[in-house]
């Protein structure tokens, strides 16, 4: 066997499993569309056009910004084996904090923009940080505490937007329109796509760098590979847990701030959680499989799935929940990647045995 073929064979499962997961999900989606009486080709065409056509791309890029941020919010703690499923609460905390600062703090755009973004990141980070001591001191799994904190936070924001921060006389629970100074500058010719995308991409670059090139990134990965060994080697697992969760919450909070500071420049009840950015982000992070540099690719895929699903609902009348179903199928297939790994290991063992 040539060296190249051997290399391809060894590298294959790493790339094949995510691609296989997407293929299986696409197939399941096609079957569901057939069952619903819709030609799958037309359905997928409507889905792609719903996200990528000239008239929709502006909105889709805004969705991509949010999903990429939420994928980071899941991926950062996942590097050390902690699961942050409370993204909704952190997203909403960031959004409501940014809105409150924008409404109550007068000032020029130069000061107000960073203040709002910072408030959002701090609020999200603070909420997520609570889960760190709960895990390291009390032994409550992060996955449970982040979720149990998320529901009350969403309810609290819902209260704030109905009473103290509500726009009077509005039929929808929402804040008044934020002052012009708190509007993130949009790209030329766009109305939804704005500087928020640049901010989230910057966070992504920092994450990729820290993960791959710095001691902290290495420590986080060591803790993820073997917590006991990390502690034995003198790493402070509680501090790493706190750091990753705070960073994750801050990215989610940033996403919330960006959404509120974009069209229509309000915090509207349910508008942050209803599109399902959190779990699209979770799915994107799982698909990227712990390689932060791949997040933009997988986040783009899930943006097409979730933003495009709305277009599909409009054009061919397939419920938009199909997007969620496909995300779930991708996650489930990915969970079974251990099967592929075990199969490869068994093959390798057989091959080694054959040679000996």
């Amino acid at each position: 066997m040539s060296a190249l073929a051997q290399r391809l064979r060894l590298g294959a499962p790493a790339a094949l499993v995510p691609l296989g997961a997407v293929a299986v999900a696409a197939l399941v989606g096609a079957l569901v569309m057939l069952a619903a009486g819709v030609d799958p080709l037309r359905g997928y065409d409507a889905m792609f056009r719903g996200a990528l056509s000239v008239s929709n791309i502006d909105f889709a890029v805004a969705g991509f910004t949010a999903i990429l941020a939420m994928s980071l919010a899941f991926a950062i703690p996942a590097r050390m084996g902690e699961y942050n499923l409370g993204g909704d609460g952190q997203l909403v905390a960031g959004g409501i904090a940014a809105a409150a600062v924008a409404l109550y703090l007068p000032g020029p755009a130069v000061l107000l923009l960073p203040a709002c973004v910072l408030a959002g990141a701090l609020a999200g980070g603070a909420l997520a940080s609570v889960s760190a001591p709960l895990s390291t001191r009390a032994g409550v799994p992060v996955i449970i505490s982040t979720l149990l904190l998320s529901t009350p936070m969403v309810a609290l924001a819902s209260y704030l937007v109905r009473f103290p921060l509500a726009e009077e006389g509005s039929p929808v629970p929402q804040t008044p329109r934020l002052p012009d100074a708190a509007h993130l500058p949009a790209f030329p010719g766009m109305s939804y796509t704005n500087v928020g995308l640049v901010l989230v991409l910057a966070v992504l670059l920092v994450t990729v760098y820290v993960d791959a090139r710095t001691p902290v990134g290495y420590e986080i990965r060591v803790a993820g590979a073997n917590r006991g060994f990390a502690a034995y080697g003198g790493l402070s697992v509680p501090r790493l847990t706190l750091g990753t969760l705070a960073a994750a919450g801050a990215v989610a909070g940033l996403a919330g701030a960006v959404i509120v500071m974009s069209q229509p420049f309000r915090f509207i009840d349910d508008a942050l959680t209803a599109p399902g950015y959190t779990f699209a982000g979770v799915a994107a992070a799982l698909l990227a499989g712990g390689r932060p540099a791949l997040l933009p690719v997988t986040a783009a895929l899930f943006t097409i799935l979730s933003v495009g699903a709305a277009g599909m609902e409009r054009d061919v009348d397939v419920p938009r929940q199909l997007g969620q179903v496909l995300q779930a199928v991708v996650i489930l297939v990915l969970a079974l990647r251990v099967l592929a790994a075990r199969w490869m290991a068994a093959r390798a063992r057989r091959a080694a045995g054959g040679r000996a």
Binding site: V32, A36, G81, Y83, L85, L134, S135, T136, R137, A138, G139, V140, P141, V142, I143, I144, S145, L147, L148, L149, S150, T151, P152, M153, A155, L156, S158, Y159, R162, F163, R227, G228, A231, F279, V282, A283, L286, P319, Q321, L322, G323, Q324, V325, L326, Q327, A328, V329, I331, L332, L334, A335, L336, R337, V338, L339
Partner: protein, 319 residues
Amino acid sequence: MDVLNLAFVAAVLTSAAPVLYAALGGALCGRAGVFNIALEGQLLCGAFAAVAVSWWSGSPWLGVLAAVVSTAVFSFVLAVGAVAWRADPIIVAVGMNLLALGLTGFIMREALDATGTFAPAGLQGLPDLDAIDGVPVLGAVLGRATVLVPVAVVLAVALSLWLARTSVGLRLRGVGEHPEAATSLGVPVTRYQMATVVVAGALCGLGGAQLSLGTVTAFTENMTAGRGWVAVAAVMLAVNRPLWVLGACLLFGAAEAWGFRLQGIGLPQQLTDAAPYLVTLVVLVLSRIRVRRRLSAADPLAAENAAHPEAVIHPEETR
């Protein structure tokens, strides 16, 4: 005053029952050594199947049956994926929860032609226990509840006895506590664990049916709203003991019932909605601190891993 208090007990039981079914399923799984956090999705699946079949057939009892069967079938994803094939139970469960959310919303749109909430005029809910209305105390507590509410409480006691007193219960505990020892005694570990996951699924089906045909008569998208996660917390709080699970769920029910009371005197619904989750989390934290302190004296490694219950399931495999 007496009537008021009995009415409160009734409200607590009704609020607690759906969570209790899910948590009893979770506790059984915990005892068998399976980390089951797919309770949320399974509750939702049960709630939807119950409403859909009750509407289609006109019989709420067929709805309950459908909830049990469909959720048990759904739980095979966890049984096969996480137990038989040893995939990461957390990722499988995250996928299942999302799948339940998406599928119920999809089918509701596609087959029932409704968005958001499905509560047509002719939808049959489970009947109240009118027969015991005349009985003192019991009538006031359970007269307005469905039969699934008292059954949940009885089930908690029965499961506790079953685990402690029967040979199958003993084997189940052995499977969870020391799978190698169980295997060497000839107990089929994987089969026991898979069966437990499916039974837990059936219990979640009952919980979902109580939620959508008992507590209210409607299905709303994502109507479980985190109750499955409260059940996961209750299982942890109770360290997998059914009677303690009952206590933990009554606590959640009390917080929810108190919330409804406070709404009555003018507190906004959004704030009272948050209370049960916070109460559950606070009590969980307090109890875990105690458990950990006790553990750290006996077994420091187990105390270190207290926040990672999934890590101890298949200790022989690196994750």
